[in-house]
């Protein structure tokens, strides 16, 4: 069971197995449930305590912000939107990969998603939590944050539904809600597994309450699977709409550098790009820490690297086309904004962005690099740095030199800006550590369905999908039905 076999090769006769290590149903349950049940590993504290400290810093920075106001940040007159919006867009983007894995890959029947979808969905929820903090706190007068919602009030005033900012409130909060429901529905059968294995009364009750008395009835599975399919179908347009709406916060402004029609697809591609990088970072750590190398295999990592390469190229294309359109438009303000972006005071940030986001993934053209754990880890960190800088560049480099040169200024982040950025990572990693410790990290019930023995018609079809080396491969009895279809 410990030996890992290479499942990144695609043999001509069939497909490589998704799960290696010779798991059956029971050993798979064991592999996923044991990390939840055994004593907390030392390595977990190594991640949890620093995260908790960072979360504490988040609390302090928010407390000081409420006391003192937004003056503690480096905002100035042309740059009225700083780290708060940068962090917001960054975190919403991180969440998108989770929904892509759980919903879009589900609709495309990409079965390899089953090993990573649980963790990726959890990541989505925690990322949306981090994102939602910033619009809540950045207004300065937090006690009027409820103005963002259409609530009857004593002033008889209502939000302006023609503004993308209010669309954003709806898009992101509904995205968070739907992601949470999707994740919880997926968790129910696995919570029942933990419930049935639990030895202590407290665990039985705690997991039992959330397992809702699930007993695997096929009459239940029928509705369950239909609900899951429909949630996937709903989450897919939702996730595309969320970052499109976020991009409209910028695109509907008349500011050069923001006022572009390419923003919605460009933001969505970037969001998936950064999100996959974050999934990669988390999975590389988790699979080692919880000994799941045979469930989250090299094939999974390689597939993620391919998606990062694809979305990285899309982001690179968007950077190029922005420059091209700025020149082609003949609009001097537009041309200045982009020349200033690449060569002005924030050129350092622009080139960090380009090198991290466009150059880093290019090494994934080589199979060797897609299978190189060290490079996968380094590149996932570099891409996330690059994607944070992308939002920083869009926000500050467009704002700091607006139409009137008399207004020009340079935005310099303060200690408290960085404290809120680092603190939001603290919130994210604290939540993720708790998730990885107390909930099943892998969607066991779903992974079981991709094991060959889960197929009730095993060995009956004309062409069998048999794991390499199992020795039970029957010869095709007739021409494969879909052979010529491609």
């Amino acid at each position: 069971m410990a030996q890992s076999q290479d499942n990144t090769q695609e043999p001509v006769a069939g497909r490589a197995p998704l799960i290696v290590g010779g798991y059956d149903f029971r050993s798979l349950t064991e592999a996923v449930a044991v990390p939840v049940e055994r004593k907390t590993p030392i390595g977990w504290w190594f991640f949890f305590l620093p995260s908790l400290a960072m979360l504490g810093l988040f609390g302090v920075s928010i407390g000081w912000l409420f006391w003192e106001g937004t003056g503690i940040w480096g905002l100035n007159n042309p740059v009225n939107w700083g780290f708060a919006i940068v962090n917001f867009v960054f975190w919403v983007g991180i969440g998108h990969a989770g929904t892509l894995i759980s919903a879009i890959l589900f609709l495309f029947r990409q079965k390899w998603r089953t090993s990573i979808n649980r963790a990726a969905e959890a990541m989505t929820i925690f990322a949306v939590m981090c994102a939602l903090v910033f619009p809540g706190i950045h207004v300065g007068r937090v006690w009027v944050a409820y103005w963002m919602f259409p609530l009857p009030n004593q002033m008889d005033m209502w939000p302006n539904f023609r503004s993308p900012l209010i669309w954003d409130v709806f898009a992101v909060s509904i995205y968070g809600t739907v992601s949470l429901m999707f994740w919880y529905v997926g968790l129910i059968p696995d919570l029942a597994t933990i419930r049935d294995r639990a030895k202590t009364r407290i665990k039985q009750i705690a997991y039992g309450i959330f397992a809702l008395g699930w007993r695997g009835s096929h009459r239940n599975w029928l509705h369950y699977e239909r609900a899951y399919l429909m949630l996937a179908g709903l989450a897919t347009p939702l996730v595309l709409s969320v970052h499109s709406v976020v991009s409209m916060d910028f695109a509907t402004a008349q500011l050069p550098g923001w006022h572009t029609t390419i923003f919605p697809p460009y933001f969505v591609a970037g969001a998936i790009f950064s999100g996959f990088a974050m999934v990669m970072t988390l999975m590389l750590i988790c699979r080692v820490l919880f000994r799941m190398e045979d469930i989250i295999t090299m094939r999974h990592l390689e597939n993620m690297a391919k998606i990062m390469l694809l979305t990285g190229c899309m982001v690179g294309y968007a950077y190029g086309i922005e420059m091209f359109i700025a020149w082609y438009s003949g609009n001097p303000y537009e041309q200045f904004a982009f020349a200033n972006r690449a060569l002005g005071p924030y050129a350092w940030a622009y080139w960090i962005m380009v090198s991290c986001n466009v150059l880093t993934p290019q090494l994934f053209w080589f199979k060797k690099m897609r299978n190189h754990i060290g490079w996968l880890f380094i590149s996932s960190i570099l891409i996330n740095i690059g994607m944070w800088f992308e939002r920083f560049v869009i926000v500050t480099s467009s704002l700091h030199r607006d139409f009137l040169p008399a207004n020009w200024d340079y935005y310099q982040a303060t200690f408290w800006d960085f404290a809120s950025l680092i603190g939001s990572f603290g919130l994210f990693f604290t939540m993720f550590c708790l998730f990885a410790r107390f909930l099943p990290l892998v969607a066991t019930a779903e992974v079981k369905t991709v094991l060959p023995e889960a197929d009730p018609h095993q060995g009956e079809e004309l062409v069998r999908v048999v794991p390499a080396g199992s020795g039970t491969e029957p010869a095709p009895q007739a021409a494969p039905a879909g052979g010529g279809g491609a």
Binding site: F25, R26, T29, P150, D156, M157, W158, P159, N160, F161, R162, P164, W167, F170, A171, I174, T177, V178, M181, F182, Y184, V185, P189, T193, R195, D196, R197, Q204, I205, Y207, G208, I209, L212, G213, W214, R215, G216, S217, H218, R219, N220, W221, L222, H223, Y224, R226, A227, M230, L231, L234, P237, S241, A445, E446, T449, E453, A454, D455, P456, Q458
Partner: protein
């Protein structure tokens, strides 16, 4: 109603057993057995598995889920309410002319209408699934069986309920053994006078 067989109906009064629980070794054996149970004419029975065995509803003769109709209805309700809210706010609640645009600017209402439609549909899918499946149901006679804990691990079961018209204590058990069940047992029905030791958490 197929749904009702999930519950312990009032008819269970007077029965000494919930029914027969049989465990099968492979998904293939379970699938064949389900076809046989269906063809034998049983109606109050269920297959219980740790993961959805694909296509088993065919072997069991179950009708497709009606959940999509509910989801369509709640989705349209969400979208409709969203559109109505925005129209009311801008036409009646707080009519404010912004850059000379008309009060009823429906294209600007599309994003929020869409989002609320998705919210309504998603709530319909999840809450509807709970309602159809009668979740949460923390207490069920099957949890009495020690063997049954394997249903969330590797156990593939068929349970035939005692109040099925074709049920017979001995014949049904023998029928299931004949289909290749590796373990067959009679599950006792809950005794209301007893301390509730079983249940969802047990």
């Amino acid at each position: 109603m197929g749904l009702m067989t999930l519950d312990v109906p009032e008819a269970s009064a007077g029965y000494s057993h919930y029914g027969v629980l049989a465990r099968f070794e492979t998904a293939k054996a379970l699938y064949r057995a389900c076809e046989a149970v269906r063809d034998a004419g049983y109606s109050k029975w269920d297959a219980l598995t740790p993961f959805p065995v694909h296509g088993l509803e065919k072997a069991m003769g179950l009708k497709p889920s009606k959940l999509p109709f509910l989801v369509l209805a709640t989705g349209l309700t969400g979208a409709g309410l969203g559109f109505a809210l925005q129209s009311w706010v801008h036409i009646l609640g707080y009519p404010l002319v912004i850059s000379g645009k008309p009060l009823f600017t429906w294209p600007a209402f599309v994003p929020v209408t869409f989002e609320l439609g998705v919210l309504g549909a998603a709530l319909g899918a999840v809450l509807g699934m709970f309602a159809f499946n009668k979740l949460p149901t923390y207490h069920h006679p099957l949890f009495r069986s020690k063997n049954f804990a394997r249903v969330t691990d590797d156990g593939l079961f068929i349970a035939i309920e005692a109040w099925d018209p074709k049920y017979d204590d001995r014949d049904t058990a023998e029928f299931l053994s004949g289909l290749g069940a590796v373990e067959v047992e009679h599950v006792p029905i809950d005794d209301p006078t007893e301390d509730g030791e079983a249940g969802g958490a047990g």
